[in-house]
Structure formats: structure tokens, C-alpha cells
Symmetry: C2
Subunit: 171 residues, 2 copies
């Protein structure tokens, strides 16, 4: 096994978590084990059902949903911090070949934990583990240490026409 | 069922086909049926194994792989055109809730068929069908009719450091 890379999917367009799910599917099809930690999120997104179909997959959530419209509270911070601890163990142990840190960028943007804490967690990972980090507002330090960075740029979105998130497409 | 939207994932960054695969997984988790038509591609990508795990999924390929370094030949054109015919039927029939036209933008960019032919095929689809179109070089007319467009922009890529495509990650 070679060295695992760090991917970052950021920007304001649709497709960041979705790309992480696609990588998950492709990796599992190739016989790899995948762990997805979802920061911020607590809703029962359709993708949580993936474990019913796919082997070698674990998904956990460390949030109570987007607090984008209010200030993060004590409980949000505790959930995120215990999530980061859990991900530290998973990354260090190396049982999972691919680890998705979904919406991690949002967690650092809202100071639920610091970027330096994240970088330490990433540095301590088992060497072969590939990491996917998603979320808007990727910190410069995360972009610096990443091997691959894609910015998902919104050119056009139907949310702007008043369409709400739909089950099986967005959630 | 509401009206199905047209999504476009374009740009030079990693994550376009991958986002389509993620949407596929999410849609299937929500009980939807998904058809993926891969233009240009003919390689045994890991994602072709998805059908082993996921119900309500069909994947077909209409290519012999990237001819990006040479001129498309008669056979490439025939494969792409018969693929478009197949997708026309699938879209019209409406049995599949989500239809992915993977690398379609590359097919029109190389004139394997015209954008106007594609728009006709999309116009004739069953109303509820959601369509995902991927590939670099999305035509202006496709962007015009799309409901959602995300540009995947390469900020950093390890291919530039000489890393080759890896099984379960890129292929």
C-alpha cells in the first residue's frame, strides 16, 4: 500500500459531500474499507442507509444539524470535539483505507476545534489511509497540506429559484 | 413526483463522475431507480461493480476509453451515437428516476453527436426524470437549459506531481 493522500472538496457549489459518497462507493467496489464521520450533521440523510447495502462501511454523525443561522452552542462544540477524537483513533489505527471527514471545514470555520488540532490528527494517521475533507470555507492551512483540492463552484443552483432540498437528491 | 431537474458537473477538477456516483448512492438509498450511461469510457472502472451491491441500478458503457490524445474514429462515433439512442429510450420511458449521462460533455465537445441532438433527447424525457450530465467543456447551450451547474475547479492535483490513477480512488 502506498501513502494515502488528503483530498479537499470545498467551495459553494453542490457536489462536495456527494463526491465523498461517490469515492466511498468506488473504494468499496475495489474492496477497500471506508469510515465516514459527519461533523455538524445530525439529520437522517438518505446516505445513512448506505450501510444496508455496502460492506466495509461505517458512518457516524457528530452534530445536531446546521447551526449556520445561529451561534454554535456548548453541545455542538462537545459533539464536534468528541467526533474529532473518534476520527483520531480511526485514522491512527488504520483499519479503514479511506476516511471521510464530512463538513470538517465548517467545524473549523466555526471554531468548534482548531485547524492545528486537525492537522495534528492528520499527521498522526496510519500512512496508507486516504482522507477526504469536505465543506465550504476550507482553511488555508488545510489547503496547504492537501494533495488534491477541488473547488466546487456554483454556476447555477435551483435553490435560488426557491426549490427546497429533496429526499434522495440533496438529503 | 415533481419535475426532474438537469444537473451539470463540469470543469477541470476531480469530482465530476464521482459526484454523479454519490448522487446515485443517495438516490438508491432513498428507494429510487438509477441508470448510468458512460460515454467515451470503456475501461472496467471499479464503479461498475456497484451493481453487485446496489438494487435498482443499471450501468452501461458506450466507448472504448479516452481518445483525448487522438482523433475520434468511426467506431467511437458509432458507440456514442448508439449510446445516445439508448439513453433517449431510457429517458422517455421514465422507469429510472435518475439518469446519469457520464462524460456526455466530452462526447459533444468531440462532435460525436451535436448539442442540439442532446437537447432534443432531454426535452423528450419523462417529466419526473432527474438528469445528471458530467464532463469537462460543458457546452453553453447545456448550461443554459440546466437547473443546476457546478464547476469543479482544480486548485491542486497530485497528477501534477506524477501520481498515476489508482484503483478504488480514481478508477
Amino acid at each position: 500500500m502506498g501513502k494515502g493522500f488528503i483530498h479537499v472538496y470545498t467551495g459553494n457549489g453542490k457536489g462536495k459531500t456527494t463526491a465523498a459518497l461517490g469515492l466511498t462507493l468506488r473504494a468499496i467496489c475495489a474492496g477497500k474499507k471506508v469510515y465516514i464521520g459527519q461533523f455538524i450533521k445530525g439529520m437522517k440523510y438518505s446516505e445513512l442507509e448506505s450501510v444496508k447495502y455496502l460492506p466495509n462501511l461505517a458512518i457516524e454523525q457528530f452534530g445536531r444539524d446546521c447551526f449556520i443561522y445561529r451561534k454554535p452552542q456548548e453541545e455542538d462544540i462537545e459533539l464536534a470535539r468528541s467526533g474529532l477524537n473518534k476520527c483520531r483513533e480511526i485514522l491512527k489505527e488504520g483499519e479503514y483505507d479511506l476516511v471521510v471527514l464530512d463538513e470538517l471545514n465548517i467545524a473549523t470555520y466555526y471554531n468548534l476545534f482548531t485547524v492545528d488540532e486537525v492537522i495534528k490528527v492528520l499527521d498522526e494517521r496510519a500512512e496508507h489511509v486516504e482522507v477526504i475533507i469536505t465543506g465550504r470555507y476550507a482553511d488555508e492551512k488545510i489547503i496547504e497540506i492537501a494533495d488534491l483540492v477541488t473547488e466546487m463552484k456554483e454556476i447555477k443552483h435551483y435553490y435560488n429559484k426557491g426549490v427546497e432540498a429533496r429526499k434522495g437528491i440533496e438529503i
